[in-house]
């Protein structure tokens, strides 16, 4: 066996090494210096993120169970960057709320385990690896959602997540077994050749789709989202809405564009209706939320609906726009969650009403949140506009004009509620606004990176061209 083949799994091996290193470090770090675990984890993961940007060969391992190519590799790098920003933003929270319960290193280990699961999931070459990855990515997050054990609502969130995700993974496993039953294979490459549109494989496809839709929180598989986001620690809500969702979109795209390609006529219809339902439900619910976390939960549901417009295009353009949108979405949403995190940690306030008059007391934070919301709403010149614009272009290029029209209607609705928050911050006086505070260094770096991303990603066009080039692999 040629051991250099293992270099294809460089990212996975490195992440595993980090997890083990953190486990060992936990033993050796003295009680009064618990803080250093945060610095260590950030340092290691930062290096991991940077090393990730070196190129990788395209190949598969273990008889096709594990495969990688430049697009998958690039997507892992996007996720790494997202997790790194997320860690920067949650460092203070860990320090103040988690370390004293002696659970600091566990947080990182669980989070990284979930990320490792995601790696395997998107690199999977067959359904076995896919399913293992899926489970590994979900279970640790359920534990993390219940992490603030002192809060009842956090436990509730954990329970809800674990119950719902158990159902979802059961359903998708059921679907996989049906696909296996009709085609006799679990390898993606072989399935592609043998899959036909008989009833059993159609049912299998629907169930598999439902299972993954759960992670992307598409309507009607989305109900857990708001409750879990509200109860879970903000870092975890952020992780669920950004990293986990992004990865699920990516694997769904791979499955649809490769394995399920023979059934494209049917899933395109399915996605058509689900996209409409998801956009409308997400937006209509987001309209009336009072709590920032629930608000962002529904907003992220609506965003998922927009992403489907890229999937429905089923082309290289579709792939490229989806990856590009996810990249932008990661930056925008992390910026929004980052500000919510900072404010919640400082003052414990999470309601939209509490944000009134924020501009007067904390102008910088308000500007960051404003940029983030503008990007989510898709206002030019920030990145979100270009992301949405390209998604719509992809759908329109395949002739889905009515769908694009509905999406534009939804953008208008979403503009209303995003601007509600902006109005609260900038135009309302507020009776007792959140007093001025300064963020710690990690949080500040985390926010600055997201702002740079929001401002530059849309304008720096070679990036999109690069993604477009990579995207040829699945079509």
């Amino acid at each position: 066996m040629n051991f250099s083949n293992f270099l294809l799994m460089r990212q996975e091996i490195a992440l595993l090494a980090i997890i083990l290193l953190l486990l060992i470090a936990e033993i050796f770090i003295p009680k009064n210096k618990k803080e250093s675990i945060i610095h260590l984890a950030l340092f290691l993961f930062g290096i991991h993120t940077i090393i990730g940007f070196f190129n990788i060969d395209e190949n598969s391992l273990f008889g096709g169970m594990f495969r990688t190519n430049n697009l998958i590799h690039f997507f892992k790098n996007i996720l790494n960057l997202g997790v790194f920003i997320l860690l920067l933003q949650s460092a203070d929270w860990i320090k103040e709320k988690i370390l004293n319960q002696n659970k600091g290193s566990e947080f990182f280990i669980l989070l990284f385990s979930s990320l490792l699961g995601i790696y395997f999931m998107i690199s999977a070459g067959d359904f076995l690896m896919f399913y293992l990855g899926l489970e590994l990515s979900t279970l640790p997050v359920a534990a993390l959602a219940a992490y603030e054990t002192a809060k009842r609502i956090s436990s509730e969130s954990g329970i809800k997540l674990i119950l719902s995700s158990a159902l979802a993974s059961g359903v998708s496993l059921f679907g996989i077994s049906m696909l296996y039953a009709t085609s006799g294979s679990i390898y993606f490459d072989e399935l592609l050749l043998t899959l036909s549109s008989n009833h059993l494989s159609l049912l299998g496809m629907v169930l598999l789709f439902a299972g993954i839709s759960f992670k992307i929180s598409l309507v009607p598989f989305h109900f857990w989202t708001a409750d879990v986001y509200e109860g879970a620690p903000i870092s975890i809500a952020s992780y669920l809405s950004v990293i986990s969702k992004g990865a699920a979109v990516f694997i769904l795209m791979i499955l649809l564009f490769t394995v399920l390609q023979p059934l494209a006529d049917l899933w395109e219809k399915m996605i058509y209706f689900i996209a409409i339902a998801t956009m409308f439900i997400g937006n209509l619910f987001a309209l009336r939320q009072q709590n920032m976390k629930r608000f962002l939960a529904f907003s992220s549901i609506a965003q998922a609906g927009f992403i489907l417009l890229g999937l429905i295009a089923d082309s290289q353009l579709g792939t490229a726009t989806v990856v590009y949108f996810v990249l932008i979405y990661i930056f925008s949403n992390l910026a929004a969650f980052g500000v919510v995190q900072a404010i919640s940690l400082q003052s414990g306030k999470e309601r939209i009403k509490d944000y009134e008059g924020l501009y007067r007391t904390n102008p910088n934070l308000s500007l960051v949140l404003m940029l983030a919301l503008f990007s989510l709403a898709g206002i030019p010149p920030v990145a979100g506009f270009f992301g949405k614009f390209f998604l719509f272009t992809a759908a329109a290029s395949e002739g889905y004009y009515f769908l694009v029209f509905l999406a534009v209607v939804n953008v208008t609705i979403s503009l209303y509620y995003y601007l509600l928050v902006v109005r609260a911050m900038f135009l309302r006086k507020g009776e007792n606004p959140i007093p001025f505070f300064r963020n710690k260094i990690y949080m500040r770096i985390g926010l600055v990176i997201t702002v740079i991303g929001i401002l530059l990603l849309g304008i720096y066009s070679p990036l999109y061209d690069y993604i477009y080039e990579l995207s040829s692999v699945f079509n």
């Binding site: 329970i159 809800k160 119950l163 719902s164 159902l167 979802a168 359903v171 549109s197 009833h199 159609l202 049912l203 496809m205 629907v206 169930l207 789709f209 439902a210 759960f214 309507v219 009607p220 598989f221 109900f223 857990w224 708001a226 409750d227 006529d265 049917l266 219809k269 399915m270 689900i274 439900i281 209509l284 619910f285 309209l287 009336r288 609705i413 209303y416 066009s461 070679p462 061209d465």
Partner: protein, 638 residues
């Protein structure tokens, strides 16, 4: 040979703008002036150096000056249609770099004296740098869309600078007027760009300008209302150019734009921005010439000739010296357009094109000089009006001499710069059409008359009623005057046709003595008449004006163009169309929108029960959703 440093020429003023704009409050005014001047000195140095390299060191390859392009794709729409950003170096862009650099540098230096003590000193220099950056970008643009972006940017900078004295109501009104009128023209430009993009699939100048290229050959034939689509596009683009270059009837903003500080008028509204329209037509000249045998070019020629005459007539009657200069600018711009319009393409036939660029170049020098001299006078006696002036030659010797040089130059007296370029224009017109030549000749006489009218009015005649004794301006203001005066004499001797011609090959010109003599005589008659009328205080001029009667009154009121515009907009557009549209909008459009909004909120209210908070409900929805999808997939869709 590497000309990559050319990209620095626009970037330096941009950096200056950002520095001055961002640290507006922290920089001392004196320092901000130095920063602005320093940036421009570097840019000017680079411009001159690039001209030296381009024309002398690189020179011609295969007998023509090559076009050098550096660009990146900025937005990609299709295989061929994309928007690029980059720099394009060819003879006319290098020439424009020099014009913009030199005039802008002189204006920067001059402004340090002129604007001294102004509360917005730093802001003023920031705007000047923004303008210079935009103008460089416009000049160096590689494609129609890029030029359009910078086109709008110069528009914005011009708006900011016209409205610089924003506490003055008339300045604000003038700024708005300039912006709105040019925006209307730019609408034509934009539509023209889109038509070209749609039909030819490219915005790129090089592709478009290739006479044998597919973009001209294939689409020149597709017709719409009797003309080909490309001709329509070119006419629309010319409307954009006419707006910026103040061609009749889109000229009404330029006289009002004189509300800005005088150095600004010299830079933007005399030497650089207003020639953007001329430059645009020159940039697309091969297209203009080859598409439908130059149909659009004829329009350019006649609009140019008419504007030249129209503006010169008005200029005679105005009493505000800056307005006289403004109308004079219009008239000279008309000259340049006219010259482009009568030009051919190959070899010596390209004389009109070359003459137009030549006149653009020389005009920039002496017109900037005229404005700066006017600024110097206004600085000294705090009035724009001829009636407050007179006899200033004793108090302001330098301004007097430099103004005289500029006046002789614009009048076309040899051997000053204006003579050479104007002569070429008249020769080109003569060879193309006698009618246009006669107009040109008449305008040349009028030009000499009106410019010496204000010269005698300011520096000779009866001394004005000055409260304090006027004195010569400080060195920072007179130095640029002297430099520009020198240039107004010297630049005429540049062998322009060697460098600039439509086919980029260059050709030799010889003076056509009979035509030159006629032009000089026309100018001398103009000067002599104004000497008779205005050198000494007398009533000849008034008698003459009375004799002309209605014609004089009309010209004095600028042929009532402003009133006509106001009538059309206020009475017809606002009252008849806008009011009813507003009513419709309020009642029906708004009503529908409010209704939809309310309905959305209601729906949101109604469905909130779905989110019950119970996991079993969620599970039910999950399974139900999957089952429904399965049923749809298996039994209905397949």
């Amino acid at each position: 040979m590497n000309l990559n440093y050319v990209i620095l020429i626009p970037l330096i003023p941009l950096a200056v703008f950002l520095i001055l704009g961002l640290f507006y409050n922290r920089i001392k005014p004196a320092i901000s002036g130095y920063i602005g001047v320093l940036g421009l000195v570097i840019s000017t140095g680079l411009s001159l150096y690039s001209a030296y390299q381009y024309f002398i060191v690189i020179g011609k390859t295969e007998g023509i000056y090559q076009t050098l392009v550096e660009k990146t794709v900025w937005m990609n729409f299709a295989e061929t249609l994309h928007i690029d950003m980059g720099i394009l170096v060819d003879p006319i862009s290098v020439m424009m770099l020099i014009v913009v650099s030199v005039v802008s540098l002189m204006v920067h230096i001059y402004s340090r004296g002129y604007m001294k003590g102004d509360p917005g000193y730093t802001k003023y220099f920031a705007f000047l740098s923004l303008f210079t950056f935009s103008m460089y970008g416009l000049v160096l643009a590689t494609n129609l869309f890029q030029i359009y972006i910078f086109w709008e940017l110069v528009g914005v900078s011009s708006y900011l600078l016209i409205g610089y004295y924003y506490t003055k109501e008339s300045a604000v009104a003038a700024a708005k007027k300039a912006f709105i009128v040019t925006r209307f023209a730019d609408l034509g430009f934009l539509i023209g760009i889109l038509i070209i993009g749609y039909y030819t699939g490219t915005f790129d100048f090089e592709t478009l300008n290739n006479p044998e290229g597919a973009s001209i050959l294939n689409w020149a034939s597709s017709s719409f209302m009797g003309l080909s689509m490309l001709t329509w596009a070119l006419i629309l683009i010319f409307i954009g150019g006419a707006g910026k270059s103040a061609m009749f009837p889109l000229h009404i903003w330029l006289p009002d734009a004189m509300e800005g500080p005088t150095p600004v008028s010299a830079l933007i509204h005399a030497a650089t921005m207003v020639v953007a329209g001329v430059y645009l037509v020159a940039r697309l000249f091969p297209m203009y010439y080859f598409v439908e045998e130059g149909y659009a070019l004829n329009i350019v020629a006649f609009v140019g000739a008419f504007t030249a005459l129209f503006a010169a007539v008005i200029a005679i009657t105005q009493t505000d010296i800056k307005r006289v200069l403004a109308f004079s600018t219009m008239s000279q711009l008309g000259y340049m357009m006219m010259s482009l319009g009568v030009s051919g393409y190959e070899g010596h036939e390209g004389l009109g094109y070359m003459a137009s660029m030549f006149h653009l170049f020389t005009h920039a020098m002496f017109k900037a000089l005229l404005f700066l001299c006017a600024g110097s006078v206004i600085h000294a006696i705090h009035s724009n009006f001829l009636k407050d002036m007179g006899g200033l030659r004793k108090y302001m010797p330098i301004t007097n001499i430099t103004f005289l040089i500029a006046a002789l130059a614009i009048a076309g007296i040899p051997p000053l710069a204006g003579f050479w370029s104007k002569d070429e224009i008249l020769v080109a017109a003569f060879e193309h059409s006698k009618f246009i030549y006669i107009i040109g000749l008449f305008v040349a006489g009028l030009t000499a008359f009106y410019i010496f009218r204000i010269y005698f009015g300011i520096f000779w005649g009866k001394e004005g009623n000055y409260q304090q004794k006027p004195h010569e301006s400080p060195g920072s203001m007179t130095a640029p005057l002297l430099v520009l005066a020198f240039l107004s004499i010297a630049v005429g001797f540049i062998p322009f046709s060697e460098f600039i011609s439509p086919d980029k090959a260059g050709f030799e010109t010889h003076i056509n003595y009979p035509l030159a003599a006629i032009a000089v005589i026309a100018a001398l008659i103009g000067i002599a008449l104004s000497w008779l009328f205005y050198k000494k205080e007398n009533t000849l001029a008034d008698q003459f004006a009375n004799r002309l009667g209605v014609l004089f009154t009309w010209a004095f009121h600028k042929f009532y163009m402003d009133e006509l515009y106001l009538f059309v907009t206020k009475k017809i557009l606002f009252n008849l169309i806008a009011r009813s549209a507003a009513r419709f909008d309020k009642k029906y459009v708004d009503g529908t929108m409010v209704g939809i909004g309310n309905q959305t909120v209601n729906t949101s209210e109604k469905i909130k029960g779905l989110q019950s908070g119970k996991v079993q409900d969620y599970a039910f929805a999950f399974i139900a959703g999957a089952v429904i999808l399965a049923i749809l997939c298996i039994y209905i869709w397949s």
